[in-house]
Symmetry: C2
Subunit: 286 residues, 2 copies
């Protein structure tokens, strides 16, 4: 196995990839914002399994953060990330500068219009426009056969799939189940922000979702009742502010009144202190 190469420029990356492609290698891509957890590492493992050549990227994408959000304080640890990716046998780590990705005068943005305005898009108006723009750019730079995204960010995965289909990109978008800590909290780079008390309270979200899921398996199909159940379970702690609890169709992210067991996303977002956390479960396939 060759040692992992860390590359910072687009030109150098394209050269490396041309060589890999010439050798007929299938190319898999795992884009991340770094500060890696088991969820990210699962994406890498799946990518390694399914492709000859694996690229991971680490780039904290400024245009998906609103001015008041946590771009500056978003956790970063390149040294640890680099070691983790190298240990998993990643071939290339792409770690561009902000100027390399958004040079002075940058002004082109892509938007999946309807899907980006609901759920997390309601409180984060330009977030998904930032996500689709960076993902399109990275896909154009890397031209992977397959790209990997986690299902914790279900809305993101659905939007990216839709963008790729609408824009006639050849890449196959693969999604990987949510990785959870032993206490049930969905892994997130932002979990590091939580105090002990906030973390204990945040656990009411996965517990509420788990309860709703089992009730739905027992026959609860009324979406309003599902939402009410989740809201009331989360509200048992005073420390959490609910951003949203939604039951929507998996393909169009449209509110539904009755749960379709093959096309439903149940998603929630909460504030634990200053930290915004999301979680979900899906019935069907992204």
């Amino acid at each position: 196995m060759n040692p992992m190469k860390t590359i910072h420029t687009i030109t150098e990356l394209k050269n490396e990839l041309r060589n890999a492609r010439k050798q007929g290698s299938s190319i898999g891509f795992v884009p991340t914002m770094g500060y890696l957890h088991e969820g990210h590492l699962n994406l890498v493992r799946e990518c390694k399994k399914e492709n000859d050549f694996t690229i991971a990227s680490i780039f904290v994408n400024p245009v998906q953060f609103a001015p008041h959000e946590d771009f500056d304080s978003y956790p970063r640890d390149m040294e640890r990330d680099s070691r983790l990716l190298s240990d998993l046998g990643v071939d290339i780590l792409f770690n561009p500068s902000r100027e390399e990705i958004y040079p002075s005068g940058y002004m082109t943005y892509v938007e999946v219009e309807n899907l980006g305005k609901v759920l997390c898009g309601k409180s984060r108006g330009t977030h998904f426009r930032g996500v689709t723009t960076i993902v399109l750019k990275l896909l154009n730079i890397v031209s992977p056969d397959q790209a990997y995204f986690g299902r914790k960010d279900a809305q993101q995965a659905i939007i990216i799939k839709k963008m790729c289909r609408d824009l006639n990109l050849d890449v196959s978008i693969r999604t990987i189940p949510i990785a959870r800590d032993t206490d049930g909290l969905a892994l997130s780079s932002r979990n590091v922000y939580l105090s002990k008390e906030e973390r204990a309270s945040a656990l009411f979200m996965p517990r509420a979702l788990q309860l709703a899921r089992s009730k739905m398996e027992d026959g609860l199909h009324d979406a309003a009742a599902v939402k009410e159940l989740i809201r009331s379970e989360i509200s048992k702690t005073q420390l959490i502010k609910i951003d949203y609890v939604e039951v929507v169709s998996l393909d169009l992210l449209e509110e539904v009144s009755t749960v379709d067991p093959r096309n439903t996303l149940v998603a929630a977002a909460i504030w634990a202190g200053k930290t915004r956390l999301i979680d979900n479960f899906i019935l069907g396939e992204i």
Copy 2:
């Protein structure tokens, strides 16, 4: 020389192109809305000269027309267009249906923000968003080495170049000088709308631009004076309504007060009856 193939579906086109690419052919692409004139044919000739394999597309793109604009009446003549392209030795004519390009539920759009809001973008608010979206889709479908655009639509060419650079596309965008009729009118598919009187009046635009250009070569560098000269020349006919006359930088399309002889676009748009016509000249390189 193989006879030209006419292809209507994306899948079939991608298969054909895979074969061409396997043989190491360089691929050139000329996207059009049909009703071809010498300007389009010049693009095709240049494309043939510079590439092993030439694809032309004909698709009247609905999303670049506003509801009140001329999408329905836009002139079409597939039979003649097809013969002209075949005679020039085009390898593939791609002529997709509206449903093939924008299937039901389509919702992804790309925008080059600043450049699309000035000049023609002022009176045609979503026009360039429609142009960049279709061009990005077609470039993703065709993956050409080079794509060809006319300089009559200078703003369009500048925006497309910027989009490709911003989104890290590998294609090289080539632009070709304006083709003119013997009377000096820039060729446009929309010229067919003009009555004899409207056409005679429309000629005041190229004449005014030509006069301004020669005055600029003689030392006129004050942008306000250039605009005033063009406006007053066009206003010598009563039949024309001026949409805009602008002197802007070629790279950023920003209004300038003094003409830079290596970075200036002088552009005008007029209404001759119900027909909107544009023309321009550039100092510098697109």
